[in-house]
């Protein structure tokens, strides 16, 4: 394998490490009940968000899912605002009203996340339609899971985006499970890319969560999209290390075994990129990340709760 640019390795590692460590910290905090809402951790899946978002310009748009910490942070969403959101504080990115499942960042163009699977997909396509009408050279990345590809709205959205050649990169984070149900119980075949290709769009498969392959594939797709090439599709196979919702592992629950997870853990992109860095560079990044997380947690802890009348704010705009 060709050597990767050390600056790129450092950038990707920092993002991977921040997401991993932030979620590990959240998992430690969770039993304290300071976070009184569901959290769906991305641990093990970070490479999809980090690789794709590295290929984006600041003005580009990301649509995420309820398992969206990684996408939000990889696009540059504020960590203090994210943790404050999970604490239900007024300083949260959604003023405490959305929680972990509805992260949003107007400044970094994270356009929100839906807890109803697949629902974010046409919303992302609508943004692309608007950018086309507005004559703006922006692209949209739409993240969703393998379960979302079972929703009719997924195929409706592919069709419309392809029909109008809209600049959307559809990214399926295939973590092999919908809650606790494996693909084998849900898919007639695993030829997802073939299904999508029938809409006339280019498809890509990254089978091993290789963050460089994801990044390069996304960058090439996005360049074609900016040139008017229309939507493309990327399936990133990843693995969810923790339970569907909550801070723990659940390999003793009976629906999967740790043996299945081991190859994915052996291929962990965080560890892989850490090993590619000089020791002092890595130590500096790690220290930076820890300090950033400490500061974000402190911000969340000390932020004020929303005022009671905020209950009725934002039901309607204007």
């Amino acid at each position: 394998m060709a050597a990767h640019d050390p600056r790129l390795v450092r950038t990707l590692y920092r993002s991977l490490r921040l997401i991993r460590r932030a979620e590990e910290r959240l998992a430690e905090i969770y039993p304290s009940d300071k976070i009184k809402s569901p959290v769906h951790l991305s641990i093990g899946q970070e490479a999809a968000s980090v690789g794709v978002c590295d290929a984006l310009e600041p003005d580009d748009v990301v649509s995420a899912t309820y398992r969206g910490h990684a996408a939000y942070l990889a696009k540059g969403g504020s960590l203090p605002a994210m943790i404050a959101e999970m604490y239900g504080k007024a300083t949260g990115c959604a003023a405490g009203k959305g929680g972990s499942m509805h992260l949003v960042s107007a400044e970094r163009h994270v356009i929100g996340a839906s807890a109803v699977v697949g629902t974010n997909i046409p919303i992302a396509v609508g943004h692309a339609l608007a950018f086309r009408r507005q004559g703006r050279d922006r692209v949209v990345v739409c993240f969703f899971g393998d379960g979302a590809t079972e929703e009719g709205v997924f195929y409706e959205s592919l069709n419309f985006a392809a029909l109008h050649r809209l600049p959307v990169l559809f990214v399926c984070e295939n973590n092999h499970y919908a809650i606790h149900e494996p693909l084998a119980k849900r898919w007639a075949t695993d030829r997802l890319g073939e299904r999508v290709a029938t809409y006339g769009m280019k498809t890509h498969l990254v089978p091993d969560a290789d963050v460089f392959a994801i990044r390069d594939g996304a960058a090439a797709a996005i360049a074609r999209m900016r040139a008017g090439g229309g939507p493309e599709f990327m399936e990133c196979r990843v693995y969810r290390w923790r339970e569907h919702v909550g801070p723990n592992e659940d390999y003793d629950a009976g629906y999967r075994s740790r043996d299945e997870a081991v190859p994915w853990m052996d291929g962990d992109q965080v560890a892989r990129l850490a090993a590619m860095l000089e020791a002092d560079v890595r130590a500096a990044v790690d220290a930076e990340v820890e300090a950033e997380i400490d500061a974000a947690v402190a911000f969340a802890e000390t932020s004020p709760p929303p005022a009671p009348d905020a209950l009725f704010a934002h039901v309607f705009a204007g």
Binding site: G92, I111, G126, R133, V153, F160, F316
Partner: protein, 369 residues
């Protein structure tokens, strides 16, 4: 006040002077509202199955694609679920989409997007986004529209915080409400009764806004308050004329917008007359009529002082055959008979002549669409 049968409907309640005395049909008022807003604001666009075809949603989108081009007026795949999401996403990104459906029944395919995204995004993202979306759809009646082409499901949308729901009853308000809906920064469910499309009213040529949350007293009266929703305003006005023949004076109130709802105007009228009959072109259970009455009765100033009653669809599925369909909908005769019983429970049973109770729009309407 002109009668609903005279060809010019009853709004605005004072006949305008000069150039404003222009008569326009409901369907042309809708089209004019959209055209004027598209002219004013480049972010407004129209999407929906058949908006650019030769029938042009009964004419309500006629000429728009020729004038504004296929980038701003375009048909969609049937995909109602995704198309609603696309409209919401475009709205979040700064556009002002008008998503048109030929029937209200099809909005059931849009429910996830409307309820889980359109209604909630401004709130659940802490005000970070807005969804200035208009969802137009026809509701129906007559000519055997049957189980899946007759429904008026506005109450389902009233239930959910974050959605506005309007049901203009005449051409004047159709234009004013549609312009208001387009300019609103919130999702607006815009309900249009099919039979009203070719009813006429005085409609100003200039753009104007009919403010949501302000009911209109369409005709004064002292003995009972009739509240009509959408086309039922017209039917209540005819019922009022029938009631006058037996000495009952009915006041007719048009809520215009159902969410927000102007409870004050309705409650004030009901307190004065002592009786409130709400007539909806929809089922009564958990319906707009139930909501209007609950709000009036809950109003501290009203207490138990007002007698209340609802009329709406029969509690059954809408049949196609005219012999059964005629019993499905309220009509001026059933409205008048119900009102009479409320005003004078001891009076001998009275049924107005059904022929006399028919409205012009029912006589004129022929299918198939």
């Amino acid at each position: 006040m002109s009668s609903p049968d005279s060809g010019v409907a009853s709004a605005p309640s004072t006949a305008p002077a000069g150039e404003d005395r222009r008569v326009l049909s409901y369907v042309d008022a809708l089209r004019e509202a959209v055209a004027q807003e598209m002219e004013r604001d480049a972010s407004v666009f129209v999407m929906g199955l058949d908006v650019d075809d030769h029938k042009a949603i009964q004419g309500s989108t006629r000429g728009l694609v020729e004038r504004f081009g296929p980038d701003r007026v375009f048909t969609t795949p049937l995909s109602e679920d995704a198309m609603t999401g696309v409209a919401i996403g475009a709205a979040m990104a700064g556009m002002r989409p008008i998503h048109v459906h030929i029937r209200n029944d099809f909005l059931m395919l849009c429910m996830n997007q409307l309820v889980n995204m359109a209604a909630k995004s401004h709130y659940m993202y802490g005000g970070a986004v807005t969804v200035p979306l208009v969802v137009r759809s026809m509701i129906g009646k007559s000519w055997g529209q049957g189980a899946q082409h007759s429904q008026a499901l506005h109450a389902m949308f009233m239930h959910v915080p974050g959605l506005k729901v309007v049901a203009p009853s005449n051409a004047h308000d159709a234009k004013g409400c549609l312009i208001a809906a387009i300019r609103d920064d919130n999702p607006v469910i815009f309900v249009e009764h099919r039979l009203l499309y070719f009813s006429d009213a005085y409609v100003p040529a200039e753009p104007f806004v009919t403010e949501f949350g302000r009911a209109a007293v369409r005709a004064p009266g002292d003995d009972i308050t009739l509240v009509g929703v959408s086309n039922m305003v017209m039917e209540c006005l005819r019922a009022r004329e029938l009631l006058a023949e037996v000495g009952v004076s009915a006041e007719v109130v048009d809520p215009i917008s159902l969410m927000p709802l102007d409870t004050d105007t309705i409650a004030a009228s009901a307190r004065r007359t002592g009786r409130l009959l709400v007539v909806d072109n929809a089922w009564t259970t958990c319906g707009a009529s139930a909501e209007i009455i609950a709000r009036v009765v809950e109003d501290p100033g009203t207490g138990g002082t007002v007698a209340v009653r609802r009329l709406g669809f029969a509690p059954t599925t809408c049949p196609t055959t005219p012999w059964l369909e005629q019993g499905f909908y309220p009509n001026p005769a059933t409205i008048a008979a119900s009102a009479r019983r409320m005003v004078d429970p001891s009076a001998a049973p009275w049924e107005p002549d059904p022929e006399k109770a028919q409205l012009a729009y029912q006589k004129q309407f022929r299918g198939p669409f």
